[in-house]
């Protein structure tokens, strides 16, 4: 195996930085504007959790399928989903990726095979497995990636989905972002203390890997290996990453003051902020890199600003559309 040369390693880090910074900027901009009351739907932000989707972005291909959860902005963006359409969706505009029907919790971009997110915990997991079944039936090499949280692990449907994926050796990649919390509930009141999720899932008959602490370069290797593995026809794989969300479960505030977790815990994780650490390490690489970082930021800042501008200036859907689209039309038969 050829070791990556220094340059390509910098380039890789810049690419990771790009994705992380982009996700962070989008989430923080939502957060900044949320209290204006124009985004009238629940939002679940991923600030602090950007490392995993960013490694995903660099390895996954456009044709692969992906589904996600209520906390899906980052995954949508990482898969290459249209930023404008996402922000417009959160604003409830007709240009939204779901035409205003779905909001922040129902994101889709068919152009990049980002197939949907669900507001029901665990609900999109078997859907992802079904997409993998469809690749197998159609004989393509598309894999299907399923993002889920540590809370979703508790739903029976997760376990049923893993079992079926193993039985039929489907090309599924489960990506569990374990951020220690489900809403305000710590893992310890929901799952046995000290039990490893990844090891448990391994015992279901599946390959797994575990990535710690938002360590982005290590996690990137795990992500690459896992994706290659699944694509090679070795059956499903389960990835667990330990991570942390900075802001409140739903909404735009910080909430370390309300008592369900400690400020210390938060600060500990903030010190491991993958974005900040990567930026630090990159700026050590000389002024050329620093310049590149600035230009990435600049470019993203204006891209994000433009997306909000797009959303704000887009028209609302017409009231009548609320009543349309309940049923898909039979081909050749007018609705």
């Amino acid at each position: 195996m050829v070791h990556p040369v220094k340059n390509s390693s910098i380039e890789n880090s810049l690419n990771l930085f790009h994705h992380m910074y982009r996700i962070r900027t989008v989430e923080e901009e939502i957060s900044r504007r949320y209290s204006e009351g124009k985004m009238r739907c629940p939002v679940h932000l991923s600030t602090g959790q950007e490392a995993i989707p960013s490694t995903f972005a660099l390895t996954i291909t456009k044709d692969d399928f992906t589904v996600s959860t209520h906390r899906g902005h980052a995954h949508y963006l990482a898969k290459g989903g249209d930023l404008n359409a996402m922000i417009a969706e959160i604003y409830g505009k007709s240009t939204g990726c779901s035409k205003g029907k779905g909001g922040s919790m129902h994101l889709i971009d068919r152009n990049v095979n980002f197939m949907g997110t669900s507001a029901i915990v665990g609900n999109s997991i078997p859907v992802g497995v079904g997409l993998a079944l469809s690749s197998k039936l159609k004989g393509t090499d598309q894999i299907s990636c399923i993002f889920l949280g540590d809370g979703a692990i508790e739903e029976g449907v997760f376990y049923e989905s893993v079992n079926f994926a193993v039985v039929r050796k489907l090309p599924v990649l489960f990506i569990c972002e374990n951020n220690l919390y489900s809403v305000y509930s710590n893992l310890s009141v929901r799952q046995p203390i000290g039990r490893s999720i990844a090891k448990m899932v391994e015992a279901m008959g599946i390959d797994m890997s575990f990535g710690n602490d938002n360590d982005i370069l290590a996690n990137q290797q795990l992500m690459k290996k896992a994706i290659n593995n699944v694509r090679s026809g070795n059956g499903p794989h389960f990835l667990e990453f330990s991570t942390y969300r900075w802001r409140e479960h739903c909404g735009h505030n910080f909430d370390n003051n309300i008592g369900y977790r400690s400020q210390d815990e938060f600060l500990e994780w903030q010190a491991k902020d993958p974005l900040m650490l990567l930026e630090k390490s990159l700026t050590k690489d000389g002024s050329d890199t620093t310049t590149k970082l600035s230009s990435i930021k600049e470019q993203i800042d204006s891209e994000v600003a433009a997306a909000f501008e797009f959303a704000e200036t887009s028209p609302f859907p017409n009231q009548i559309e609320a009543y349309e689209g309940v049923y898909a039309a039979i081909e050749g038969v007018p609705k």
Binding site: S98, I108, N123, V127, G130, L137, G325, A328
Partner: protein, 351 residues
Amino acid sequence: MSQMTYAEAINVALHEAMQLDSSVICYGLGVTDPKAVFGTTINLEKKFGPERVFDMPTSENAMTGVAIGAALNGIKSVMTHQRIDFFLLAMDQLVNGAAKWHYMFGSQNSVPITIRLIIGRGWGQGPTHSQNLQAWFSHIPGLKVVMPTTPEDAKGMLLSSIFDPNPVIFLEHRWLHSSIGEVPDGDIRVPLGKAKIVKSGKDITLVAMSYMSIEAIHAADYLEKQGISCEVIDLRTIKPLDWETLMESVSKTGHLLALDSGFSTGSVAGEIIARVSMEKFNALKLAPARLAMPDVPEPTSPALTKGFYVRAADVAEKVMDMLGKDTGQVRKDLTEPRPHDIPGKWFTGPF
């Protein structure tokens, strides 16, 4: 055109659909086993292979989600459950997922899945193997609900269901599987959403679905001899329901009796009474009526299911009562068959 049973008609439709379209797959507990879901899935695996026809883990909820996911990439799944009751485990995937997917993602995807659920009654199936929950499904926007009565409709509507771009709940009554009828060959499609007037008449509209249509026809035949002319409507599709045909009939007869195989309160028959009362109030010559299952779980003992089901005699009696005729003779003429808890002598259990 050939004579076949309802179960055979379903089998033929599945063969036809899988032959026509390689994106049709078929799975469910028992689909590939020797009993082949009461014979309805015979030879499918042999003909179309284990990739497209397969057994599954006892995981009703996930397997429904699998159908949704596959549908998003153009696969048309026919999933089968031997009892509707088992499918209660999958309500999240059905209602929060399949039913709303097309709508909530701005009409970019459709979810062409067909879920065959077997309903029934009798023979000690008891409280959790005999429910008729069509009312639940018809309450949910985005679902279609189909309940064919005849072998021909079973075939033609199953084909239409499979090729419909929406999730369709296809309900088969266990007491119909062995009924025999003429079934056209080939790719016949009976459109969803169109009721059938199986007997036209002028005095009263009897509206029913699935196995209840059989009881309605028996009653109408008897009533005809008593000089009462019934118009019998077999709904065939519960959602979307063919209100036009129904309203026209009630406008003509001025009388309505709605039958249902489900619990009375909140039944589809109730919705029918409501809609007719709201929209055809002036056409109604007297109060509409409903005959459905009592609001009671079905007991197991044959002693307890005696007189428990809505039978032709109940229908005939109700109609005569509504029309002011003497009902004294009805139960003598139309006695409860013996045994009362099986569809025919050929049925020896356990299912």
